[in-house]
């Protein structure tokens, strides 16, 4: 009986007893969730438009962040001053690099593999991952770097809210990340839903030959979508890098996007956001209130258990398109 009490009742008693603590935990979860959502967004973009699960999205985030800091250091080395000019110049150049990457991926990877089964394209993104790790280390070295958050004028410090009979502290950089993510999501969702290019993106995902027959250019669409995923990667890289440091091992965060995608649906942009937030908050609540029961460490696997449950009962996710197969 005591164990049941500890699982089913005690955590909620704690929540009610210290609402300020609960608010803090939920906030931390929200923040983590926004970052998961940003990574998942990159996946969804490419999946929607080419039906390919892009394993390289994680490394693209790291590569973008590395490029940003690396280019900034080079610019500073050439004596570009003041620092914020150098930072924004580096940001612009990073976007250019992501565009070049998108064109290169289309030319060298996707174009030769047109009409191949999805699994082949998926494997190709594995290859891309390892290429980008090696290439990135060659260019920028393997040492961790510090994100140039200050030079980009990202807000610093925290807001202390005096609510719920206690203090809740909100990092300003987290608020900025949430705002940026929301704007991006709204723009992308509208864009995909009802514009010519958005429709073309979805069309390409469904049938290559039908898309070709109505005059949609596969090459153009792929460059657009990989560049869009690259832009999302740059922004994710900045936000994530500002919270820790920028290093290649960070690419494993791509794996955290998987449960988010399973929850939200592989084809839904709003789904990526809701999925990210649910996973982020669920993880933190689980860790804080239920974790101590089994000696903590829940955070690293809880998301995958949630994803597993979803796969059993609702494989298309919360917002995904219904999976329709006719034989």
């Amino acid at each position: 009986m005591e164990i049941l009490y500890k699982i089913l009742i005690d955590p909620f008693v704690q929540m009610v007893a210290a609402p300020d603590l609960l608010a803090q935990v939920v906030w931390e979860g929200l923040v983590g969730g926004v970052l998961y959502a940003l990574i998942a967004l990159g996946f969804v973009l490419i999946f929607k438009a080419s039906g390919v699960f892009n394993f390289a999205q994680g490394i693209m985030v790291v590569f973008a962040a590395m490029t940003l800091v690396g280019v900034y250091e080079i610019l500073r080395g050439f004596g570009v001053y003041p620092t914020d000019l150098a930072a924004y110049l580096a940001l612009a150049l990073t976007f250019c690099v992501m565009l070049v990457l998108a064109v290169a991926v289309e030319r060298l990877v996707l174009r030769p593999l047109v009409n191949q089964p999805d699994i082949i394209l998926f494997m190709a993104t594995f290859g891309l991952t390892y290429f980008l790790i090696g290439f990135g280390e060659l260019l920028f070295g393997g040492n961790p770097k510090v994100m140039i958050a200050e030079q980009l004028h990202l807000p610093r410090g925290a807001i202390e809210l005096k609510i719920l009979g206690g203090f809740v502290s909100l990092q300003k950089v987290d608020i900025a990340a949430a705002v940026v993510a929301s704007i991006m999501v709204i723009m992308l969702a509208v864009f995909f839903q009802s514009t010519r290019i958005g429709r073309a993106l979805r069309a390409v995902a469904d049938s290559h030959k039908a898309a070709l027959s109505v005059g949609i250019s596969l090459e153009q669409i792929w460059v657009i979508v990989w560049f869009a995923a690259g832009v999302v990667a740059v922004i994710t890289g900045i936000m994530w890098g500002a919270r820790s440091q920028v290093e290649f091992s960070l690419q494993v965060i791509a794996l955290k996007a998987l449960p988010v995608l399973i929850l939200g649906g592989f084809t839904s942009i709003p789904g990526a956001v809701v999925g990210g937030v649910v996973i982020g908050v669920g993880e933190k609540l689980g860790e804080f209130y239920w974790g101590p029961l089994i000696g903590s460490g829940i955070e690293s696997w809880l998301a995958y258990v949630i994803a597993l449950l979803f796969l059993l009962f609702r494989p298309q996710g919360l917002f995904g398109e219904k999976i329709i197969e006719r034989v």
Binding site: F191, S194, I197, D206, A210, S213, V214, R326
Partner: protein
């Protein structure tokens, strides 16, 4: 049989000519030196037994396949091979043997996708979905609604096409091709797998498209009754070669055609 009579169409303007087209995949020859012409405004049928190279021929015309030899003359311009983008821009639309629709999208969005090349507003306005891009969307939507009315699929316009029965999918696919306002419409077995009633509907749509919009149509079909009723002229392929070309009556009476379909006793 339909007017105009075959000898009159033969004299009218040629919209597409293929000359000596040879296409092979490795050692397998799909087409061997095929030549024929399609005249403006006619309905041209391509028939032949299974594996005769009919679909390959359509794929050559709209640029999916690049033949090793031969020339294609479309609207007065001669080239060795067509590209899918050039074909679409030049006003060649098509449907597919096994229906190639955008399954996750609604019927309306599928047909709107056919307007891709007609819509020109840039990426910037599209991203904002505002100003000129929105106005453009409205204009094209009107055009698409006309097509939906014409094909009598008003009731299903918001349904994801993957859920529709086969006959309706074929109709949506025709709608998407019509949305391109094509000059040359390629139909790959538009009536395959349909029941009699659906076939009659589809025949009516094909004739209407041809009469009202003056669209030139090339169609592959197995149902001989349909072919004889609809087409002005017929090309017969067998093992990648052209074995007959002429009016439906001429073709029907041709001994080589009868042999190809029924087999020959050696």
């Amino acid at each position: 049989m339909r007017a105009p009579a075959p000898d009159q169409t033969a004299a009218s303007e040629v919209i597409l000519g293929v000359e000596n087209v040879t296409l092979s995949f490795g050692g397998v020859a799909a087409l061997r030196g095929v030549s024929f012409e399609i005249c403006k405004g006619e309905i041209r049928a391509i028939i032949g037994p299974n594996g005769a190279g009919k679909t390959s021929m359509l794929n050559v015309i709209n640029g999916f396949y690049q033949p090793q030899e031969g020339r294609i003359t479309y609207k007065g311009r001669t080239r060795h091979t067509m590209r899918p983008a050039a074909a679409a821009r030049g006003g060649i639309a098509r449907t597919f043997q096994n229906v190639a629709l955008f399954a996750g999208m609604t019927a309306l969005d599928n047909i709107m996708a056919g307007r891709t090349l007609k819509m020109r507003r840039g990426f910037f306005w599209q991203a904002l979905r505002h100003g000129p891009a929105l106005a453009e969307e409205v204009v094209h939507r009107r055009k698409v609604e006309e097509i939906i009315d014409f094909l009598e699929i008003e009731a299903i316009r918001k349904v994801a096409v993957g859920q529709l029965p086969y006959g309706l999918q074929k109709r949506v696919e025709l709608g998407r091709a019509l949305a391109m306002e094509p000059d040359l419409l390629l139909l790959d077995e538009p009536m395959a797998g349909m029941n009699l009633e659906e076939k009659e509907d589809m025949s009516r749509f094909i004739l209407d498209v041809n009469n009202h919009y003056g669209t030139t149509i090339a169609l592959i079909e197995h149902d001989m009754g349909v072919v004889m009723d609809l087409s002005d002229r017929v090309v017969v392929l067998d093992y990648g070669r052209k074995i007959a070309d002429g009016s439906p009556e001429e073709v029907k009476a041709d001994q080589k055609v009868i042999d190809a379909y029924l087999g020959v006793a050696y």
